[in-house]
Every structure is written in structure tokens, then in C-alpha cells.
Symmetry: C2
Subunit: 139 residues, 2 copies
Amino acid sequence: MRLSTKGRYGLKAMFELALHSGEGPIPLKDIAESQNISEHYLEQLVATLRRAGYVNSVRGAQGGYLLSKEPKNITVGDVIRCLEGQIAPAECVMKDAADCNRESYCVTQTVWRKIRDSVNEVIDNTTLQDMVDDHIKNH
Amino acid sequence: MRLSTKGRYGLKAMFELALHSGEGPIPLKDIAESQNISEHYLEQLVATLRRAGYVNSVRGAQGGYLLSKEPKNITVGDVIRCLEGQIAPAECVMKDAADCNRESYCVTQTVWRKIRDSVNEVIDNTTLQDMVDDHIKNH
DNA sequence: TTAAATCCCTACTGATTCACTTGGAATTAT
DNA sequence: ATAATTCCAAGTGAATCAGTAGGGATTTAA
């Protein structure tokens, strides 16, 4: 039940972008350094977020990345799901899942569904702006 | 964020034991067959649960496994944690975690903590008895 | 008393995923 | 022109997953 570094690093990076939202493009180098992450690895994660439309890029010197929307319109769920795929403890409670067994009703599925829903509730109701506010409040 | 087969199969097995609680030892063969799981693999999972004190075993012909406590006194959290280790989306919010970075406060940690707590709330408040009741209600 | 049914234990294994690294090409500000 | 950046594709060592293999020990039933 651990998140991989994709989701973890990705959210850190998105938080950094949100923190400097409106200040023009931020180069990955800065984020990688401040978060102590391999720049080349982070590049791959941000590429995924870019293709999904959450960040825009500016190439060339003085280029970098910026959020494509306001921080309040991007949720933690958007970011994590983009990088990690659907968040569900078992395949049988993922969207488009095939029926997991011949029986029409399975009790463990009920448990997995509850776990899935509780996690999704948290991540879909926290935006990057919430994280920024939280950060400011604590400094 | 997927659970491995350890936790998934393990919970299914414990549910079967709870369902037949009070009927004497149930052989693994029956559980493995009814849940369509490799018996030898399940054996390893149940061994872990036995060593942790959640099930007792009876050796020899007509032997098998039984819950060591009443179904209402074993939670889903007990079972999953026993087989999968601590449930937390990131190391920094696990018990005994070293400080994740030089800064005293980290925003992503707040998110991970919320996820961790919401999952634990679900699994610690669902017992095997709840699953049995749910099963009976739906048949 | 022997055979069958069961649990118990250790080790091995092929496939997949993780967390990167390598090595460049294309683009743009200075 | 040069340096700073993004963009792209492929390779890699280590770890984990989901078992399998091959036995040994214990108990019941015939």
C-alpha cells in the first residue's frame, strides 16, 4: 500500500510549481535541487503531467514549467492518479474491472471498495492551493 | 497503492475461517479450492497469521486451521497489517520514520498522513464478524 | 500398523516493477 | 555562438511478487 516515488515526487514538484504560481516558468533543476530528486528522473514524471495537461512547458534558456491551471483547480488526486494510475487496493474495485469471481457477491470486495473510497475522498478534496495555504500557515 | 496478494488472499482465508467459526478445524485445501488460490502459497500466508497469533492449527488428518479469537475480535487491519506490514502511502508517515528532510515541516507529509489515517480508520473498524454479517445479509 | 491427510519448513525461480542512469536531439535567451 | 533548458528513447541493477519444488513431522482412520 505504498505509493511509488512517481506519485510522491510528482506531488512535491507540483506543490513547488503551485508555490511559485504566477512567477513565470520554473526550471526543473531548481525543483530537483530543492527537493533533492534526480533531475532526469523528475523530467519523466513531469513529462507525464504535461501530456495530461496539468503543466505547460517553455523550452530554451530561462524556460521551465508552469501549472496550466490555477492551483485551486488541480487536486492531489489529479496528480497522483496521473502518475500512478487508478488508486484502488485491488483490481476488482477498479473501473472496468472484470467480475472477480463466479459469485455475484464477494465480501472482501466490500472492504476494498471502502478503502478505495476513503482514499479517493481525501485526495480529491485536497487541492494544490490547500497545500500552499497549509504551507504558508506553518511558516 | 495496490495491496499484494498476501493481504488479499489472507483476508479471504480469514473470512472463510470466520464463516465456519465454531465448526472445528478447516483444512487449507478447502479454502484454497473455494477461493481458487494455490494451496502451497496460501500455506505461507496462514503460517504468518499463525505465528502472529490470529489462527491456531491442528495437525494431522482431519486437522486444519481455526481462528484463535472470536471473529468480532479480529479486524481487517490486524490481518492486512500482519501480512503486508504497516499501511502507509509513504515511509515518512510510518511509525519510527526518520525525519524525511532537513525542514521541520513538509506539506506532502500532511497529505500522506491524511491518506494513512483514512485507510486505517476503515480497516481498524471492520471486523471479521462484520464481514460475516454482511455476507449473510446478502445471501 | 500402515496409509492418507494434514500442517510445517526452507529454498529456489521467472516475471515484473522500481528508481533511476545514459546519451543524446531540439529549442531559445543572451 | 553558447549556455540553458526541455524533449525523447533506451538500458540497468536491485527488489519485490507470486508463486513452485521438495521435502519433513504429526495425527487419524482403515
